[in-house]
């Protein structure tokens, strides 16, 4: 019940913000929603199962390119194109996850990176489909289903992205609170013990990677509909690094932290980018300092300062455990 009220409250805030904010802020927030969703999807892997991926751009790119191709070559409504892009990303992710989970730790991270670069190479080389390094342009997000025009407008699309983010967040929370989520947290804490307790950890890891890629694919697909183009840059490895920075900066294992991390990243990029080309240098310094002084990221700092979540409960799972017991 508690969760339902929070869900409704979040939707109301979203609706209100679309009405009162100036147009440029709505555009900015749309991008925050998309990148936040992307970072949150990675947090499922990194923060809850300790599956550190250096290749999450693959998820973004798979969603982006499949959605772009659908929008360019067919007349299907945008939500259907997004759904198909998500399904496609998830199916490919099964294969990626199957291979990557043969390894653990650094080897796992390297395999994810390899897959990321593999998709980058495909996107650049397969020019007849992807238009190579020029990318796909001229994408339009026209009608919603049944001729509904809402998604074509700026505010309508913002609302749509916001709803996607909020729905994904609550779905992830339910996932973490479920028996499946408990096993994931167990894998993060001590994978060997989970095996000794009679569970095949690989199935759980593959499952969470697939969910994570599917949400990352949704973010990529939304980005294409937002920016109206898809370029190989979306699949290039710096994207994987950036999203990992967003997760760690915001606070991994908190779901909302990475969304804040994404917003913070964008804020630094856009605001500092106006004054200096060396904004990345400043961001890098902030990142280093935050890793040393705020191991739980911005979210951890905020909850410590604000006494958020009943005083001591700093991370989501502690909160969840608290709610369960009381």
């Amino acid at each position: 019940m508690n969760l339902l009220y929070q869900f409704i409250a979040a939707l109301l805030v979203l609706l209100l913000s679309s009405q009162v904010l100036p147009p440029f802020a709505v555009t900015l927030l749309t991008e925050v929603c998309i990148l936040g969703l992307f970072a949150m999807s990675l947090d499922l892997m990194v923060g809850f199962a300790k599956l550190v991926s250096f290749g999450h751009a693959a998820a973004y790119g798979l969603g982006a390119y499949s959605c772009a191709l659908l929008l360019l070559h067919t007349d299907i409504p945008l939500p259907l194109a997004l759904a198909l892009a998500v399904v496609f990303t998830a199916v490919v992710a099964v294969g990626i996850a199957w291979v990557c989970t043969m390894a653990t730790g650094i080897s796992f991270a390297m395999l994810t990176l390899a897959f990321g670069q593999l998709f980058y190479a495909i996107v650049v080389k397969w020019a007849s489909v992807t238009n190579g390094s020029d990318g796909l342009v001229g994408i339009s997000r026209t009608a919603g289903p049944f001729g509904w025009q809402g998604l074509a407008s700026r505010d309508g699309f913002y609302l749509f992205c916001g709803v996607c983010l909020i729905a994904a967040y609550f779905a992830c929370r339910l996932l973490i609170m479920s028996p499946f989520g408990r096993v994931l947290i167990g894998i993060r804490d001590n994978e060997k013990k989970v095996t000794a307790l009679g569970l095949n950890t690989r199935y759980y890891k593959i499952s969470v990677i697939v969910v994570s890629y599917a949400l990352g694919g949704l973010a990529g697909a939304l980005y294409v509909a937002f920016a109206k183009f898809a370029s190989p840059d979306l699949v290039y490895w710096p994207v994987s690094g950036q999203v990992l920075i967003m997760v760690i900066l915001g606070g991994s294992g908190t779901l909302l932290g990475p969304v804040i991390g994404a917003a913070f990243y964008m804020l630094v990029e856009y605001q500092l980018g106006v004054y200096t080309d060396a904004w990345a240098l400043i961001l890098g310094s902030i990142f280093i300092l935050s890793v040393i002084f705020m191991p739980k990221g911005i979210w951890g700092l905020v909850s410590r300062l604000g006494g958020l979540g009943r005083g001591s409960a700093e991370s989501l799972e502690e909160k969840v455990a608290y709610e369960d017991r009381h």
Binding site: L174, L175, S178, P179, F180, G181, R182, V183, I185, G186, D189, N190, K192, K193, V194, T195, A196, L197, G198, L199, N200, Y203, Y204, S207, A321, D324
Partner: protein, 250 residues
């Protein structure tokens, strides 16, 4: 009495080293069976062969007539054989209750439910509370496992195995690294547990006090061979065993 675990001519080689040579023995239902032997005797290898952590080179392991040979650890656990580790293995960031609850959940049919699963979690919680009660650990239920004393950590790991309601409980040196007082405490709690509930236990242990206090029967290994197998009294009087322990260094 029925046989719970049966090892038939089990051998295991590590390269040129034969850690187990042709070991055959049975663990009966409801008995506490200790595996002892000097360092390097192969007792931990045998222990790990039974629970599937180590693959055997030849021979067979059966559980109630069911062939376990070649099965992976997690499958063997699902068949009702729960183990603890020599070096305490817990989920350090979770509370004691969450540790035990996850262990119990691993044996429930809805253990993987991705959405909802409230009933599964409630049942796991119920079993967890029961297991914590059995080992008198209720007072530390909300303490993170990493903050427990070493002795409580050892007991918590036993509670996790107990919460799985195993058919065979396998304890790998439950008093490893504990002071004499703590060891007595653990012996007391384990005895209380065994008194309350008939459990089949396979116990690897260095400390002879623990073995003589808890075990019904003892199997003695020496350099990979099973050299004695019998009641506490029989093993105590066995010349070969005395040789292995006292004059075994040649």
């Amino acid at each position: 009495m029925k046989t719970a675990i049966e090892c038939i001519a089990v051998s295991r080689n590590f390269g040129a080293l034969a850690a187990l040579k042709d070991v055959s023995f049975k663990v009966m239902e409801g008995e506490v069976r200790a595996l002892i032997g000097p360092n390097g005797a192969g007792k931990t290898t045998l222990f790990n062969v039974i629970n599937g952590t180590i693959k055997l080179s030849s021979g067979k392991v059966r559980h109630r007539g069911d062939d376990l040979t070649g099965l992976r650890g997690e499958h063997i656990c699902q068949k009702g054989i729960s183990r603890t580790f020599q070096l305490t293995s817990l989920f350090p960031q979770m509370t004691s209750f969450e540790n035990v609850s996850l262990a119990a959940q691993a044996k429930l049919s809805g253990r993987w439910f991705p959405i909802g699963g409230r009933k599964v979690l409630a049942e796991a919680g119920r079993r967890a509370n029961e297991a914590l009660e059995r080992l008198s650990l209720k007072h530390i239920a909300d303490t993170p496992a990493s903050e427990l004393s070493h002795g409580d950590q050892r007991l918590l790991e036993v509670a996790m195995a107990v919460a799985q309601r195993p058919d065979v409980l396998m304890l790998d040196e439950p008093t490893q690294g504990l002071s004499i007082d703590e060891t007595h405490e653990i012996i007391g709690r384990l005895r209380a547990l065994l008194k309350e509930q008939s459990l089949t236990v396979v116990l690897v242990e260095h400390d002879m006090d623990v073995v003589f206090e808890l075990a019904d029967r003892i199997a003695v290994l020496h350099r990979g061979y099973l050299i004695a197998d019998g009641t506490v009294g029989e093993v105590r009087g066995n010349a070969l065993v005395q040789e292995a322990y006292l004059g075994g260094v040649d």
